[in-house]
Symmetry: D2
């Protein structure tokens, strides 16, 4: 951490700061220039509260050099983490395919789709039971009943299941769920993150649509610092000025996050743009940049899906995506 | 609502859509052009699920013309809503001053600051007990104990209190709180919004740092549609590409939202930029654009504040802000 | 185009508008609802000045339905445009590789790099002679001399050359250049675009870092409406809140633009992020989403490049990129 | 400047860097930590090319501490610069009112508006002759003829005039113009900036809609480094995700820029949002945050303005704005 001091800082005030830092086992290197003085702080600065230092009136600026996350930091865990999700796994160089409908609607629907996506190569089934919707007047999901239907599909197909939680109170309903999803809007719902850190199921943590990489990793850190290190990150598009697509899928997040963290990173091409015709090319892009998996909305009747129909594809299209994405991965070793 | 059809839509499929719309009491006006056909939908389109229509494969685009919010819509409630917060009120042309420390730290601190800000003209006391922090290693607030200290400050000064909730489970602790704050990161925590809609205390709803006006109003609608119409909106800065300030305070939000909704809108100049020297000018800007109130972090010892010190001002500065903001409001009637 | 009228619009004022529209051969379909009246305008609305209509005080809102661009619009030119650049071409399903140093520095440097990238499969040579730099104190390029060196490299290798223009006055220097590049910062330098529309060389038009797809296409339209239809679009990253990368490469722009326009679209992975380690994965992502080409900065000594060294790769890395990108394209037909 | 080295940097390579830095009169302070080594560079780092250092493969990160601009930097020019524009001036604590139509349309129009805005307190007349428009099919301004009409208005009223230039070739036409405007889209048209730096008229430099404060100041630096120090900065809205307004007016830019630079800063509330009803409140906001002036579009017949009618106000409204903005400035001294 670098602390830039104002020109006229008194020696007494500076000594107050340096004593406090040394009490926290931080080593200090001081550089005095003609127009400013710079302190270089060396040690475990990840746990220093940067705001406390910035607040001092003789401090002009503070810049972090070490990342503020530890458990998620690749620097301290050089090897890729591979996370088991029931019989499937995410990470370690493979491209895991997760697929299923936006919302669970009926037993027939979810079991039917599960069988189809399994046949195409999906190893995890997704399906929404609790649905965060911008409008209170939109369909909010089948809730508890939706989870029961997912469990039936799991029994019928053997596919492990992932579905979204919206409040820690709902946790008892997730007993047979294999991976718990935190949606983009809840990425900084810290009470929820802490609750998920105190249980053992893997967590699929979606990047908020305006969250930085560092904030995403700090949210993973909330879960990990409570004891649960099974976190899968997911990029699903960020909000920009461009309005033709709902969001801008940040595919650079995959290789960038891989340098920062050992956690696996998957891509959600379905929610990224809100345009069905872009799901296929973005899936290929995701496979090519090295994502650990894809999570794709597949519906056997997208035109009658109860939500997010515009971004669902048919099983036939998913089959093509699965085949070509796998071929792209193979092409990358030539 | 305007529905733009693809060129080659079959009459049967179109009839399917129009029958369904008519069953929802929507009137349809059809315009056939040489290159496209447009349907104009007239009626209560606010409750139509736009996604269901967009999902149809013969629909090229759907554009809303009516706003998707009703309870919060000024069109149906032309008069300004004035909300009582204990002995104070927000709305109706006045500039309500809300002030207090970022975090409650001790009885002495909170009571002392409460007395000072009251003397300068504040009519509501703020103070953080539950603190959402990006890092799990930062101070998370005094939680229940912080609320107790706020209650003491309320008894000592008579000022009503506002403080932030982070999870619906915490509601019982808010029994003596006069207004419940929902932070920017929880603006789309829909389970929390619904819980707050099922109780009666006024809610101070902060705009998410990447939320549109419409999304903010839809979140207000979540609260209002459950029965609680006492919602105060708060702009506190949006995230942009500019990094000199933490966020960009969108002062146009005040007059813009006032045309869209009857709810009061206040400004938080403290969290907006993360720079103490900008709080004073932005407070004046907020008063000048017509905000219904200001919520400002005031600390008697900002350099030792346990959080957000860089954005706290001293009581002396608050006193100047209170005096000049009031003078600006008077100047606007010349 | 849809025009939404205010509730109390007088018949006289409305007649004034409709008469004016009819005089421009626009057909009008009127839908009268209980709370608003909507006009559907049908005809060649691309050339209507939307601002003139919005300015009317009885107009509440105007929404375009037809795109405001014509020459660039795929609707009127369904087939992909393929653009010849000397002996190379861009478009039509192939992946054209354009490579070379950020800045031309010496004959030895540019000729050496040209030979290397040609050996790896590049068919066009790039190199900066006029360099737009944020700081007036940074190296501004070799200017005219740089173009002469590019011409030598062209003679030595047979590769056609592309380089950036910064002002129409520089056009005479581009006599032997095969494609003229307009940089992102000049995407809306309309005087320059018009000048390039009045000559015949192909133009490589980079998307501004905060330009929408529509604005990019309107800038192409500036060139095309003056007579030169040889425009190649280039996505090179957009500015967002994320600061880990310099910009966010919007790979969805490729398939999205391909639905809107018949012009070819290439990707610049080098300028997108400012991080060398991301160039390789983003090149693969670009190949996988269907880009018509890649433009990549290659330097034989990136550490001593006079500008943009952090984003240059070595010829060895380019060779790998060329091989794998081609394999990815093949994989997409399985 | 802070240079963060990778862990395994060899002493030889490090010596190469430090020798080069010392040759440029940069002093180096080295801090060796357990996980990284940091160099603190002290001296005139504004003229160091940060890219050259970042490009080194043993450098992990470089952070500037000194601003990269010098002529525009308040640190070296602590007093406010006051710029004479004909008989008017901008800076030094006053609120200069600049007003006039978006486009010059006729002698009658421009002279009439000039007289009206002068009567309300405007001291500079604005009017567009060269008009940058997104669409080539929109009205492009009266060009040379428009400037002649502005000159007539200047003679009739005594008001100095400001109008926009789009290409350095147009400079001869600006002989009688008092201040030359550079539009937001040309903020990084560096060839134009350099040409304006080589002449003496004051330049009104608008912030690009996606430009940082630092980039704006670097563009001012381009002009100033060529010899012309008469630069007035103008904030006119930045592009964000919010689409209700065309742009988001960043009023914090005024006090923020005033700490960074000695140049005056004015606000353009007309172009900021594209909504006429927001011009008045934003003008008051601008006056309250301390802007050195306002530049406002005033049209005697906004509904028939040839461009940007939606954002023009009538002279009567301008009169109210002038009166109240002045009163707000007075209120700020209570």
């Amino acid at each position: 951490m670098i602390v830039l001091l104002k020109k006229d800082t008194s020696p007494e005030r500076l000594a107050g700061l340096t004593d406090w830092l040394r009490s926290k086992n931080i080593e200090i290197h001081k550089s005095v220039g003609s127009t400013e003085t710079v302190l270089g702080l060396v040690g475990d600065t990840a746990k220093l509260d940067i705001d406390l230092i910035s607040a001092l009136d003789f401090v002009k600026d503070v810049k972090r050099i070490q990342e503020p996350y530890k458990a998620a930091n690749r620097k301290f865990h050089p090897d890729d983490t591979v996370i088991a999700v029931g019989s499937a796994h995410i990470g370690g160089g493979d491209l895991t395919l997760i697929a299923g409908p936006c919302s669970v609607e009926s037993e027939e629907q979810i079991v039917g789709i599960a069988k189809q996506v399994k046949a195409s190569g999906a190893t995890v089934l997704r399906g929404g039971a609790f649905k965060p919707r911008t409008s209170p007047y939109s369909f909010q999901g089948m809730r508890a009943e939706g989870i029961e239907l997912l469990e039936i599909a799991k029994q019928e197909t053997g596919l492990p299941i992932v579905t979204e939680i919206m409040d820690a109170d709902q946790l008892p309903l997730f007993k047979n769920v294999d991976m718990i999803q935190v949606g983009a809007r809840n990425m900084q719902n810290f009470e929820l993150l802490k609750a998920l850190g105190r249980q053992e199921k893997p967590v699929l943590l979606k990047r908020g649509f305006a969250a930085t990489y560092e904030e995403l990793l700090m949210s993973a850190e909330y879960i990990m610092s409570e004891g649960n290190e099974n976190v899968v990150l997911c990029e699903r598009g960020i909000r920009t000025f461009e309005q033709y697509t709902r969001n801008c899928l940040d595919l650079a997040a995959v290789p960038a996050l891989k340098t920062l963290t050992h956690l696996p990173i998957i891509i959600d091409p379905s929610h990224a743009t809100g345009r069905r015709e872009l799901i296929e090319p973005l899936s290929y892009g995701a496979a090519a940049v090295g994502a650990d998996g894809l999570i794709i909305e597949v519906h056997n009747d997208p035109e009658h899906a109860l939500c997010d129909g515009p971004q669902s594809i048919k099983p036939e299209t998913f089959d093509v995506i699965a085949r070509r994405s796998t071929a792209i991965r193979a092409a990358m070793t030539v």
